[in-house]
Amino acid sequence: MALRLADIAARMDRLYEFDREPVAAAKLQSGGKFAGLFAGEHVAATEFVIGAFFVLHGVTARDLLLGLLLGNLLAVLSWTFLCAPIAVRTRLTLYWYLKRIAGPGVTLVYNIANAFLYCILAGAMISVSATALGLVFGIDVPKLGAVLPNSVGWVLLIFALGAAFTTMAILGFEKLSRFAQICSPWIFLVFIAGAIAVLPRLGVRTNLGNLWEVATTKVWNGVAAAGQDKFGFWHILFFAWFCNLAMHVGLSDLALLRYAKRWTYGLYSAFGMYPGHMLAWICSGLMVAAIGREMHPGLMAYQAVGWAGVAGVLLAGWTTANPTLYRAGLALQTVTPNWPRWKITLGAGVATTILACFPVFFLKLLDYVAIYGLVLMPVGAIVFAEHWIFPLLKIEQYQAEKRGWACNWTALIVWIGTLVACFTMPIHLFFRWLPGYGIALVSYTVLMASRRRT
């Protein structure tokens, strides 16, 4: 068993070899590049669904605007004060830093969990794209609340898209990444154009005099759709905050921010949050209201922008599923001995395609996003405690590395224990991560401190 783990750990290290060393000063990037990267990353296919769901969950316009303003601010501050300072001090990816703290065993578990979560996320992207392509072939989209596929046509459509996305991810990840950079400003304009174009249909006058009245009565009117929970200010604030929880509080964006010249570069995340996670969500809310509150991203975009809208949804799904599939493949490569990259990406693509057939993943996207962040959040708390709190309390840092532990069991127990505690909390799913973060932070510190005394 120990030999097997050592073998897996050696393979993982080879995979991530290219970023083993801390980033050299010459390779640090300008603030403009961070602004561009954040702006491009946060206008994805899921934005068509998230903003629309806020309307279906009966949010009021005031709660939406305030919740998004403050929630996104908290997300930006999380990148700036939690993730960026550790990134510029260590200049390491989470993979390598976590290995120092928790040993290869925990990094292996983290990789597998990440791969599985990435597959579901990519599956949701494929489903969103399928709603657009389904329009071309006249295939009905599963209704709200559906768990299983609603027709053979839907399954065939998903398989066709899954095969296409996977093939393209295998054939040219790098070229597609560059193509995605071309797509992202245009996709953002699809959101903006769609929202402006549906204003006359919603009854907004050209002088915008009744814009707020229309927003509060026809779009975010506080009435939830049948079968949907009613959301308020706190739901929106927390959702905007935790939407990228794995990246900021969970620290996976160490990979990005380790190239920052200063920790204040975390503030550049505002270029992703406010256009993507505020404006794009507002736009998709307007578009869904204009089609009678039907959860159908393809139809929303088609009605608002025409065939370019359909292409926008399709491309948004494709360009975001592509790196997600790649990352899932990379994470899975650690447990597939000597498999070439194409075979692993193919495996991830097949798993993703099968998951995408089940509409529950995109029709319950808000809950899934919450669970995704929640599952990886304790790792961020463990790293934060080890990096900042241990020196203050004079607890020895990096014991796993110094003593050659294959697995820091304390870290693993804290991770699992935090998740068990979170899933039993009698509060809404959206709010559980915050007390969970506190539990992970305190319990890891206390357990590691008590280990010192024994």
């Binding site: 561009g36 245009w186 903006i192 154009a193 922008v305 025409g306």
Partner: protein
């Protein structure tokens, strides 16, 4: 020169993508006209931006951001 022209054309295409729905909302353009203008400008963006950005340095963000 081609790069400079393609950059100018690409940015103009994006401008048209934004202007078309505004003109439709203001009642200065029909719905069909707006969608046609958006489609054409989108095609222009993809062609010209490919010329502009694909030929730009290969050191794009994806090459410096690790996993």
């Amino acid at each position: 020169m081609i790069k400079r022209l393609s950059r100018l054309g690409a940015l103009m295409s994006l401008g048209i993508c934004l202007a078309a729905p505004v003109l439709f909302f203001a009642g200065k353009l029909s719905e069909g006209g707006y969608k046609l203008a958006f489609n054409l400008a989108s095609a222009g963006w993809f062609v010209l931006a490919s010329l502009w950005l694909m030929k730009r340095t290969k050191k794009g963000p994806s090459s410096w951001v690790g996993s």
